[in-house]
C-alpha cells in the first residue's frame, strides 16, 4: 500500500509530465522540420527556392555535389494562394449568407436540421470530397473546359469552398447570434424592416466574428492536401486560367515524399516550413481579430452608417445561398450513397486481398481498427492527463498553462501533411525503416492531442467546483477527488471526445500515406507491418478508374462510419449526461 503522500506526488508528476510531452512534441516538430530544411535551403539558396519558378527535382542530387535539379516553389506558393482565394470566394460568400439565413431568417426547426447537417459536413473525410470532385465535378466541367479536362483551379476552388463552409458557417452563426437582441429591436423600433435590421445593424455588429470565421477557413483551405491532389492536376506550374493544372504547397510534399532524393527531401521539408509560415501568419491574424473582438465586445464598437441599402438583395441572397448549400449537401451525400450502396458487397467488405486480384477493403477495415487502437491508446491517456493538469493542477492564468495551451493551439493548426512529413522521417525510421501501422499510429496520435485535450478540458470545466469542495471537505485527497468525482462527472464529454477522435483517425489520409502505407494490401500481419486505412484505400481506388464501383462503395462505407461515429458521440454524451443528472422525471421537469 502506497502512502497517501507518495500517491499525491506521483500523480502530480505524471499529470505534469503529460503536459510537458505536449510542449516537447510541438518544439520537436518545429525544430526537426526547420533544422532538416536548412542544408537544402543553403544549397538551393533561399531566394532561388522561394522565387524560383522551375521545379525539376533530380533524385541523384546530394548535398556534397553540385546539384542538377531545380527547386523553385513560387508556382506552388501562387497555386496555394489562388486556390485559397478561390475557396474563400466560394465558401466565404456561401458560408456568410448561409449563416445569416440560419441565424436570422430560418425557422427554428429548419435551423436545427440544417445546422446539424452542416456539422456533419465538417466530419466528412477530405478524401471523400476529393473523390466527389474527381468523379462528379470534373466530368461536369470537362464539357466547358477548353482542354476538355475539367480539373484545375475552378474545381479546386469549388471543392475547397464547400469544405470550409462548415467552419465559416459555425463561427459566423455564433457571432451573429451573440449580437445583443437590443440592437435588432432598436432598429425595428425605428421602423426598419426585418432584413434592414439584420443587414444594417446585426451583421455589422458581428463583423469581427465573421472575419475570424473566414480566416479560420483560409487556414483550413491552405492546409488541405488530399482533396487538392485529386483534382488540381498537380503539374508544378503557375495556374493557367480556370482549368490550368497547378500544384499547391501541400500537394508538392505528398506527391514527391515517397521517392525523394536527398536535396529533394530537403526541399520538401523547406516547403513544409513555408507552409508553417503561412499558417503562423493566419493564426496571428486570427488572434488579432479575436483580441480586437474581446476588447470591443462583439458589438459595442462604433458602427459605420451604411450608405446603400443592400438589405433586400441580402435577404434574397440568404435564401438563395441556403438553397444552394442544401442542394450541394444533398448532392454530395446522395450521389455517393446512390452510386455506392449497391456495390457494398460481402466480397468487398470481408474478403482478404491478393496482389493483382479484385480489390477488397477487408484488410483496410482491419488496418483502420488497428490504427484506431494505437492512436487512441496513446492520445487519449496523454490528452486527458494534460487536460487534468491544466484544469486541476495549475492556477488560472499561470505561465505554464499559457505555454501548454499555445502548444495545443499550434498542434491543432499544423497542416496534416506536415505531420506526415515528420512521421515519415522519425517514426518510420524508428520502427524498422518501413511504413507501419505503429508509425502511422504515432503520427496520428500527435494530431489527436488537441482534440482530446480541448474537449476534456471543456468537460472538466463544466464540473462544478462544489463537487471538488464536497470531496475535499470529506477528507479525500486531490487524487481521489479527481478520479472518483471530477473525471466521472466529466465522462460524457470525455466519451464524445474519444469518439470524435476515432472519427478523425478514420478520416485522415495525408499523414498516413507515407507513414503507414499508400496501396491496398493484404490483411495486416501486425502492428509493425504496413496497411492502408479505408480513407487511404479510397484514395488508391480513385486513382484506378477500373474500380469505380468499388471506389464509390468505399466512399460510402467511409461516410457511413464517420456519420455514425459523429451521431454516436452526440447520443452517448446526451445519455450519460442524463444518467448523471438523476432520474428521468427530474430531468423532464427541468426541461419543459
Amino acid at each position: 500500500m502506497v502512502s497517501a503522500k507518495v500517491k499525491e506526488t506521483l500523480s502530480k508528476v505524471l499529470f505534469t509530465a503529460a503536459a510537458i510531452i505536449c510542449i516537447v512534441a510541438v518544439v520537436t516538430i518545429f525544430v526537426f522540420i526547420v533544422a532538416k530544411s536548412i542544408p537544402a535551403l543553403s544549397k538551393i539558396g533561399v531566394f532561388d527556392f522561394i522565387f524560383g519558378d522551375v521545379w525539376r527535382p533530380d533524385k541523384e542530387d546530394v548535398y556534397d555535389q553540385a546539384i542538377n535539379g531545380k527547386y523553385g516553389i513560387l508556382p506552388m506558393i501562387v497555386g496555394s494562394i489562388f486556390s485559397t482565394v478561390g475557396a474563400i470566394i466560394v465558401g466565404g460568400v456561401l458560408g456568410f449568407f448561409t449563416a445569416v439565413f440560419l441565424a436570422r431568417f430560418s425557422s427554428p426547426k429548419v435551423k436545427k436540421i440544417f445546422g446539424t447537417v452542416i456539422n456533419l459536413l465538417a466530419g466528412i473525410p477530405s478524401v471523400v470530397y476529393g473523390f466527389f470532385g474527381m468523379y462528379v465535378m470534373i466530368p461536369l466541367f470537362s464539357g466547358i473546359s477548353p482542354t476538355a479536362d475539367g480539373s484545375g483551379l475552378l474545381v479546386t476552388s469549388l471543392v475547397l469552398g464547400i469544405m470550409i463552409l462548415p467552419t465559416v458557417v459555425a463561427l459566423s452563426k455564433t457571432s451573429l447570434e451573440a449580437v445583443p437582441q437590443s440592437y435588432y429591436e432598436g432598429a425595428r423600433a425605428l421602423g426598419a424592416r426585418h432584413e434592414q435590421a439584420v443587414f444594417r445593424t446585426v451583421v455589422p455588429a458581428a463583423k469581427s466574428g465573421i472575419t475570424a470565421s473566414v480566416i479560420l477557413g483560409v487556414g483550413r483551405a491552405i492546409g488541405e492536401t488530399m482533396a487538392v491532389i485529386m483534382i488540381a492536376g498537380n503539374s508544378p506550374e503557375y495556374p493557367d486560367g480556370l482549368f490550368g493544372s497547378f500544384r499547391t504547397l501541400t500537394a508538392n510534399i505528398v506527391l514527391e515524399m515517397g521517392y525523394a532524393g536527398e536535396v529533394q527531401m530537403g526541399a520538401l521539408l523547406s516547403t513544409g516550413v513555408i507552409l508553417l509560415i503561412f499558417i503562423a501568419i493566419i493564426n496571428l491574424l486570427f488572434g488579432l481579430v479575436m483580441s480586437d473582438r474581446k476588447q470591443h465586445g462583439s458589438g459595442r464598437r462604433h458602427l459605420r452608417e451604411i450608405k446603400y441599402d443592400f438589405s433586400k438583395a441580402g435577404k434574397v441572397l440568404s435564401w438563395v445561398t441556403a438553397g444552394i448549400v442544401a442542394v450541394v449537401l444533398v448532392l454530395i451525400i446522395g450521389f455517393v450513397f446512390i452510386k455506392g450502396i449497391p456495390h457494398i458487397t460481402p466480397q468487398l467488405l470481408f474478403s482478404d486481398y491478393k496482389y493483382g486480384g479484385e480489390p477488397s477493403i477487408g484488410p483496410a477495415i482491419v488496418a483502420t481498427l488497428m490504427l484506431i487502437v494505437i492512436s487512441i491508446l496513446i492520445a487519449v491517456p496523454l490528452g486527458i492527463a494534460t487536460a487534468v493538469y491544466l484544469n486541476e493542477y495549475t492556477r488560472r492564468g499561470s505561465r505554464m498553462v499559457k505555454i501548454v495551451r499555445s502548444a495545443i493551439d499550434v498542434l491543432s493548426g499544423i497542416p496534416s501533411i506536415v505531420y506526415g512529413l515528420f512521421g515519415a522521417l522519425t517514426f518510420v525510421v524508428w520502427f524498422g525503416n518501413t511504413t507501419s501501422i505503429l508509425a502511422g499510429g504515432f503520427t496520428v496520435s500527435i494530431m489527436l492531442l488537441p482534440v482530446v485535450v480541448r474537449s476534456t478540458e471543456e468537460s472538466l470545466k463544466s464540473v462544478p467546483d462544489s463537487f471538488r469542495e464536497g470531496s475535499l471537505a470529506l477528507g479525500a485527497g486531490k487524487v481521489r477527488t479527481i478520479f472518483k468525482v471530477v473525471l466521472p462527472s466529466a465522462l460524457p464529454g470525455i466519451f464524445s471526445a474519444i469518439i470524435l477522435a476515432v472519427g478523425r483517425v478514420v478520416s485522415e489520409t495525408a499523414p498516413l500515406i507515407w507513414t503507414m502505407g499508400s496501396v491496398i494490401q493484404p490483411m495486416p500481419t501486425g502492428f509493425l507491418g504496413g496497411g492502408a486505412t479505408l480513407a487511404v484505400a479510397l484514395y488508391a481506388l480513385s486513382n484506378e478508374y477500373r474500380y469505380m464501383n468499388e471506389a464509390y462503395a468505399t466512399a460510402c462505407v467511409l461516410m457511413i462510419i464517420v456519420l455514425a461515429l459523429n451521431t454516436a458521440a452526440g447520443i452517448i454524451a446526451y445519455r450519460l449526461q442524463r444518467k448523471l443528472q438523476g432520474e428521468k422525471n427530474v430531468k423532464r421537469k427541468k426541461r419543459y
Binding site: F467, L474, G477, L580, G582
Partner: protein
C-alpha cells in the same frame, strides 16, 4: 452507541497509516489572534474565540463580513484559495491544525462541512454516503451498509431513502439533497460539523427539518453554523458570534446576545437597522 463502538473497532482493524497517525482531534475549537488576508485584503482581523464542544454556535453578520472565511479556517478549506494567508493559532481539541504535522485530510475527516448549496456527487445515494468511509479505507460491503444506514438514520432520512439507495442523489429534492450532504458528512463520524448557510437555498419545511436535525446532532458533535437568518440563530444556537467587516464584534450566549447586546453595532444589526 454499541454500533458506533463497533465501527471504530472495524476502522482500527482496517487501519493503514492514516489511522495509525490519527491525531487526537477533540471537539472544541479555540482560536487566538487570527488574521487572514486574501492578497492585500484583510478579511479577518485579530479574532480570538473559544467554541465549546457539543453546542451549536451560530455566526451572524452582514454579507461579506467574513463568516464563511472564518468557518473555512477550521477545516482548512482556505488552503485551496490562491493568495490566502493565515496567521494566529487555531486549535481543535489540543491539536494545532495549521502545524506541519497535521494531516489536512485527517483534519477534514474530523471536521465535516455542509455547504450553502447542496452538493451531492452525481452518484447514487449509497455511494454518496459511502464516499467518505471508502476514502479512509473501508471496503467491506457489510460495513458500508451499516455506515449508510447509521448515517441516514442519524440524519433522519433512512425511512425516506431506504428504498432508493441506488437512485442518483441528484434526483432528490433540494432539501433532501442537503440532508443527504449532512448524512454524508456524518458517515466518517466527525467531531465537528461546519455548516455554511445550509438552509438558505431551501423551502421553510426543509429548513425546519434541518434545524431539528442540528439540535439532535449536538449530542454527538459540535455544530458551527453560519446563518443570515436571525430567527434561525435564536431558534437553534447556544452561542452566537457577530461579525462585522472582518471583526468579531461580540460573542456570547445566544439568549443574552439577542436580548441584551453589549455593542451598539450588534444591536443595530439584530434589530434590522443595517445589514
Amino acid at each position: 452507541m454499541l454500533k458506533e463502538k463497533k465501527d471504530t473497532d472495524v476502522g482500527r482493524k482496517n487501519g493503514t497509516e492514516t489511522n495509525v497517525k490519527k491525531a487526537p482531534f477533540g471537539n472544541s475549537i479555540s482560536v487566538k489572534r487570527a488574521d487572514l488576508f486574501y492578497g492585500d485584503f484583510h478579511a479577518l482581523k485579530n479574532i480570538s474565540i473559544e467554541i465549546p464542544s457539543n453546542r451549536i454556535t451560530a455566526f451572524i453578520g452582514p454579507s461579506g463580513c467574513g463568516k464563511s472565511t472564518f468557518l473555512k479556517c477550521f477545516n482548512r478549506m482556505n488552503d485551496l484559495v490562491e493568495g490566502c494567508r493565515i496567521s494566529g493559532e487555531f486549535r481543535i481539541g489540543d491539536v494545532d491544525i495549521y502545524s506541519d504535522a497535521t494531516d489536512v485530510n485527517e483534519l477534514r475527516k474530523n471536521v465535516g462541512m455542509v455547504f450553502q448549496k447542496p452538493n451531492p456527487f452525481p452518484m447514487s445515494v449509497y455511494d454518496n454516503i459511502a464516499y467518505g468511509p471508502r476514502t479512509f479505507g473501508v471496503r467491506k460491503r457489510s460495513q458500508l451498509d451499516e455506515i449508510v444506514e447509521r448515517s441516514l438514520t442519524q440524519a433522519a432520512m433512512w425511512d425516506e431513502l431506504k428504498d432508493r439507495l441506488n437512485k442518483s442523489a441528484l434526483g432528490l429534492s433540494g432539501g433532501q439533497q442537503q440532508r443527504l450532504c449532512i448524512a454524508r458528512a456524518l458517515a466518517v463520524q466527525p467531531q465537528i460539523i461546519l455548516m455554511d448557510e445550509p438552509t438558505s437555498a431551501l423551502d421553510p419545511i426543509s429548513t425546519g427539518k434541518i434545524e431539528d436535525l442540528c439540535s439532535q446532532l449536538k449530542e454527538q458533535v459540535t455544530v458551527v453554523i453560519v446563518t443570515h437568518n436571525m430567527q434561525q440563530a435564536v431558534r437553534i444556537s447556544d452561542k452566537t458570534a457577530f461579525f462585522l467587516l472582518g471583526d468579531l464584534v461580540e460573542y456570547g450566549d445566544t439568549e443574552k446576545m439577542f436580548t441584551m447586546p453589549h455593542d451598539k453595532r450588534t444591536e443595530d444589526y439584530i434589530t434590522g437597522r443595517f445589514g
